[in-house]
Symmetry: C2
Subunit: 336 residues, 2 copies
DNA sequence: TACGCGTGTCGAACCGGTTCGATAAGCGGC
DNA sequence: GCCGCTTATCGAACCGGTTCGACACGCGTA
């Protein structure tokens, strides 16, 4: 690889002039500019990003930290982020916390050491959990999906309450009154919001929500399965189920299949988040889907805005909540 | 952040001694070692990875390049890689080529500029496609999943031919003779291998393979769907289908559902690669699954072996082919 | 003619480490 | 008492850029 010194020698100028030409061409005479450009071209020069990082105190890397990369939601999200980052000449370092706060802390420390120019973080843990390690970050960051109390920052997420409201309203309109809610891990922002939307809509519609059938399925297929088993074999079983996530919904569907309870004839099922391979899961599940591309694009833009802002600029914090979209499937119908 | 100079000052030694202590403690007197350790601890010192990268010409980053991150196979794979990398104190830069060779070239160039210590690459394009940009890589790399002619390197992959052989044999043993093969993108290593396994097993079993029902479904759900539509509505329709990938299988299943052709009563279906949410796809599809964790672990180990080897060491190239595992589902049965 | 100013270029310091060659101290052998 | 060897430490060069202050030059003005 050629260095800036090679270019300087060939162009017959000093290395500072070369650097100047590359970074602030308007400060360099036209003729010099041409010579440097030719020399750089001739030796195939491109600046070493590591040396730049060292001097500038910032690299052209972006960190993305999520709780579980295998979740298809994050896969899609990552793909979009990577695309945007690439367009802005940045690479993406991705890391999985497995929902462990101590992993999150360690990863953020690593990213800080690498002087990443920005971080996209889906924080783990309860809303009121520890957040010092996030608040003290020295580079721009954007939280997404999951909100955290006590952290002043840009945030991008879907309207979780609205998502369950839409599903709840849809079921009520179909005539359901005994609706069970298979919630996400309690304490988590998204889980609480989704539950809140459900309860609020039930209340607003004058339909009583029985606390005995508003359960915690921990964003987990197995729990979704087990809770559904319990609900559907217990007394006074619900005529409809709302699952707080795609994996919970699939667990629920599996339980119904095994119990021989037909969906939607005997029970309606709706869930939040797109179900991968939705087309082949029979019946097709009614879902409220998050607009992944929009979320990712917005998060990228918010982050890039801060990264590219001249130092010292004050940028107001943005909270962007995007509306989900309801996608009706064959899994919801009028109660028997 | 504190620098090595702070530590040196506090410990009352030179910066070279501090560096020596941290990198080759055995060359430093015990007493000095203690003083340095204490000083480092006191100021909370940890070496700047960027400065180290600049001087050493190598960073503690690993690149992982795949054709499509949203594919659940790669999601799982990435998660494992990231875990292993983290354990070895490395971060993972992930990049998606969208199966475009020009993206692959650009990404590899970026990774090289970042002086990543190693690269895990699922190369894109046909086996005989361009590979100069890979061969010229200046750092250790391991190819996985997809092989490339003309590149001497470590390789880790599943036994693709064996995977389709196992499925083919299973179907033949059940009594099928007219078996269709929904192949992957022709020209791609995995696709050719999978087809080869199918044809070889058919031939070895004395069952004629009708070329008219050995088709190309391009590793794509829509093509799987369309080809199945064509096959199942045409004359002399097959009694069994083998899909070269999970998405093809799902497309095929959807087509059968829509045509009202019952599986497995009227047609058997088997596929390669795990089907996500397998538990809720009815019927459960018989698959030959790749051992993802083993593949990822092996790839990590091969790469780390090269990364940590003292420079100049010659390491024989390894090609590791792991056997898939067959998982029987309800989608395959005796022909009517 | 002298002065001040704007423009273009340059040398040198610096970012934070690693590493090589030099040097000094300690020690045993003759 | 001196030589030579080992061991511990250090100074300085270097990795490849960026940036600040200095400086030379040409020009218009007083």
């Amino acid at each position: 690889m050629s260095t800036i010194r090679d270019v300087a020698r060939l162009a017959g100028v000093s290395i500072s002039t070369v650097s100047l030409t590359l970074n602030t061409p308007e400060r360099v005479a036209t003729e010099t500019r041409r010579k440097v450009a030719e020399a750089a071209e001739a030796v195939g020069y491109s600046a070493d990003p590591i040396a730049q990082s060292l001097k500038r105190g910032r690299s052209r890397l972006i960190g993305m930290v999520v709780s579980d990369i295998t979740n298809p939601f994050f896969g899609r999200f990552l793909q979009e982020i990577e695309r945007h980052a690439m367009a802005a000449d940045h690479l993406v370092i991705v890391s999985d916390t497995s929902s462990q706060i101590r992993n999150e802390i360690a990863i953020l420390r690593h990213l800080a050491a690498q002087r990443v120019s920005g971080i996209l973080l889906q924080p783990t843990g309860p809303m009121t959990g520890p957040s010092d390690h996030i608040r003290q970050l020295s580079m721009p960051f954007v939280l997404f999906d999951h909100r955290l109390d006590g952290v002043e920052s840009d945030f991008v997420g879907a309207d979780n309450a609205l998502a369950s409201s839409m599903l709840t309203e849809h079921l009520i309109r179909l005539g359901h009154r005994r609706i069970a809610f298979l919630g996400g891990t309690s304490g988590l922002y998204t889980a609480e919001e989704r539950k809140r939307g459900f309860l609020a809509t039930m209340a607003a519609s004058g339909v009583p929500a029985d606390p005995a059938i508003v359960v915690d399925a921990r964003y987990d297929g197995r729990h979704g399965y087990e809770q559904t088993m319990r609900l559907m074999t217990g007394p006074d079983r619900p005529t409809a189920l709302i699952a707080a996530s795609n994996v919970i919904a699939l667990g629920a569907l599996q339980a119904c299949n095994e119990l021989g309870i037909a969906c939607p004839a005997e029970v309606s099922l709706a869930g939040i988040d797109d179900v991968p391979w939705a087309a082949v899961v029979q019946p097709r599940i009614t879902t409220a889907v998050q607009p992944i591309e929009d979320l990712a694009r917005t998060a990228s833009e918010l982050l890039m805005r801060r990264i590219t802002a001249p130092p010292g600029t004050v940028i107001d914090r943005s909270e962007i909540i995007l509306a989900p979209e309801i996608r009706l499937g064959g899994s919801t119908a009028r109660p028997a």
